[in-house]
Amino acid sequence: MTQLGWAELQFGVTTVFHYFFVPVTIGLSFLIAIMETVYVRTKDTVYRDMAKFWGHLFLINFAVGVVTGLLQEFQFGLDWANYSKYVGDIFGAPLAIEALAAFFLESTFIGAWTFGWDRLSARAHAVTIWLVALGTTLSAFWILTANAWMQEPVGYALHNGQAVMTSFSAVLANPQLWVEFPHTELAALLSGAFFMMAISSYQLLRKKNVTAFARSFKISTIVAVITSVLVIFVGDSQAAHLVQAQPMKLAAAESLWNTSSVHAPWSVVAVIDAKNHTDPFQIQIPELLTILAYKKLSGRIQGINQVQSQMVHQYGPGNYIPPVAITFYSFRIMIFAGTAMLLLAYYALYLFRKNRFLERRVFLKIMSWSIALPYLANSMGWIMTEVGRQPWVVYGLQLTKDGVSPLASVPSLDIELSLLAFSLFYGAIAYAAVHLWKKVIGRGLDADPERIKDPSDVDSLFLGTGGDAAG
């Protein structure tokens, strides 16, 4: 593999890993803020204990998100120096603003929240978690401002071989941003909700702290019911936006090799032969793609071959086709996972009446396994949007291969070594995080060992929880 290939793999692996943790951080911070607000209003301590329990899981998640986020900011300079030089004038600004306006807020108030239970009034303490939640959302907004610009560059001019900003308001008004940000934010809220629904289900299944987890289940189900519908609506307009903004990505996501008739069907599954530009086998729903793309009953979707020849005409010779199978299937998996979450959330809502969900053991079991769905949907969504943009790093402006760091500074071996190190470290951290999650979940709301002064008591609490495997 070439230096470029290793750099791409490093970016993909570390970004997907980082993004395992981010959406749950965003979603859980709001859910915890809601619980704590209810506690402040009603003085019902069960809500406080719930906030603490979810807060504990949240903090483990947050720590991994923060430290892996450091690499995200630095690796543009590390692996993509030519990209950084080319776009720094316009791409660096939202990243810097993210640090100043959002990340400071999150990191400062998460410290106050975690350690401030005894030092702040109940009201002030609840405000700190709302500020964390606000910080996570602002953070998402600014990062997506940067990403939206890579998808759809606006408000820039080319000057001495660099893209420079000419209109900050155009960067903020980027139409891509205003479909991408709501979709991502809603997906994050849905992820947090499913994380909570799944773990609550597991606890209800084993009859642990039933009052608290039934309440957690209900709160998160309500959030999931609202966000799972909205995320699909916004996602739909995001895909429809591709018709004019990135026709190649849309064609690849549909594995549509040639421009469709005015009644384009939607492929549920397809066998893709990228070499010969055909799909030997497909299962299709008639008319659906046209309806999704145009919201009316007739309209053509451009095919890969046609967009390719337009791009050759516009940008000169080259292959402008992204990896079609990856784009197609990541898009499908995201959609199926999102739909599954929608159905589960509504079924859970249906079971609210007389708390019937407490007795549906099969349902609770399915729900506890459904924790995988948001992770699947989030990763696949990013893979679809980033792989589908290839071979561009900035759509229509810079090819990915022109953005990588110079070989003289960063030989392939350096990237291979760092990728190896990150894989080992990230693997170990994921293992440790899951280990701690299991511990915290196993304990439920009972006896918080931090409150136990005598170390021997702590020992007796922990001895049962599982050998020395992770030592």
Binding site: G77, D89, G111, F115, S405
Partner: protein, 336 residues
């Protein structure tokens, strides 16, 4: 153009904030397994920085972001050039940060011991690399006419950079000791005071040697003005005043003087660099300067408004955080 100078100063301010705040965090981390032997001692020591370390580390993220936005060519050349070194910084920060959060959540001895050593190693590696990196910015590294670093990882190892690393390690150990001296539990306070009083002499000595060496580097000729000399004097004087304050048991003053020394160190480095940001050892004409690395006036203008509005707010709420957790650690409320 004044905006470039302003952003050079702002990058300097963010870097200074980072080293004042994370300097003692790294110091506490480097001292961690050596000072503290029982588990209670270790938890108490980590608890002293628990509520604030994440808030401190954001200063690095902000400095990195500001560098990218304001001086993209500096950001790109330095990060790709110092590739493996910065990967080590990241790995160090990762294990250290995760270690802080994860260590005390499992009772098993092996688990805690592992994270203890990772917190130590992470803090040490990060400190060493920053010392080397700043030394090499001043000393010069092979950068060609296209702003491309053409050296290797090995290029970063030289007498001056290794001495810089040693100086940073000693300085942060003193700063960490000074922090524990006011914020630790009873045991940590005692040990912090001991460390500060003993280590301040080698730290001062290393600093003096490093500054003399710095001022005589070929790359520094013509760049060491009166202000740089005064700042270096402030560093040494600050350390001596810290020792005096410690001797008089005014530990808060000692901490303030240590902070002053760290600030003056970073400002002196930036002062000597200015208007260069990375020195080319191949040809002075190929130096990276604020002029050939900066973003456009438009972008710098937008960023300036943002920073000038937001920075005071950040300083405000971070001060509130420190105020809220101003009391030293006591055994009843250890969270780490």
């Amino acid at each position: 153009m004044a905006l470039r100078e302003l952003w050079f100063v702002l990058v300097g301010v963010l870097t200074t904030g980072y080293f004042i705040l994370e300097g003692f965090d790294y110091g506490v981390g480097m001292l961690h397994p050596w000072l503290n032997h029982t588990d209670t001692e270790r938890r108490a020591s980590l608890s002293s920085i628990a509520p604030i370390w994440a808030a401190n580390e954001v200063w690095l993220v902000a400095a990195g972001g500001a560098l990218f936005a304001a001086f993209p060519n500096w950001y790109a050349t330095m990060f790709s050039g110092f590739y493996l070194a910065l990967i080590l910084v990241l790995l160090g920060l990762i294990v250290r940060g995760v270690g802080m959060e994860f260590r005390s959540q499992d009772r098993r001895r092996g688990w805690r011991g592992l994270w203890d050593w990772l917190i130590f190693s992470g803090s040490l590696v990060v400190t060493i690399i920053w010392g080397m990196a700043f030394s090499n910015l001043l000393r010069g590294v092979p950068i060609n006419r296209h702003m491309i670093y053409v050296g290797t990882f090995g290029t970063l190892f030289n007498g001056f950079s290794l001495w810089g690393a040693l100086t940073f390690v000693l300085l942060f150990i003193v700063h960490g000791g000074g922090y524990l001296a006011i914020k630790g539990d009873a045991y940590s306070r005692k040990m912090g005071r001991l460390v500060e009083s003993k280590m301040i002499w080698p730290a001062t000595g290393a600093m003096v040697v490093w500054f003399i060496w710095m001022d005589h580097l070929p790359s520094s000729q013509g760049h060491v003005g009166d202000l740089a000399i005064i700042l270096q004097g402030v560093v040494v004087l600050g350390l001596l005043m810290a020792r005096l304050a410690g001797y008089l048991t005014k530990y808060r003053w000692a901490f303030a003087f240590n902070s002053l020394s760290i600030a003056a160190t970073i400002i002196a480095i930036f002062r000597i660099l200015f208007p260069r940001v990375m020195v080319s050892s191949l040809n002075a004409a190929w130096n990276l300067t604020i002029n050939n690395t900066a973003s456009t006036a438009y972008t710098l203008g937008i960023m300036s408004v943002t920073a000038i509005v937001i920075l005071p707010i950040i300083i405000g709420y971070q001060s509130w955080l420190y105020w809220t957790f101003r009391r030293p650690v006591n055994d009843q409320e250890m969270k780490y």
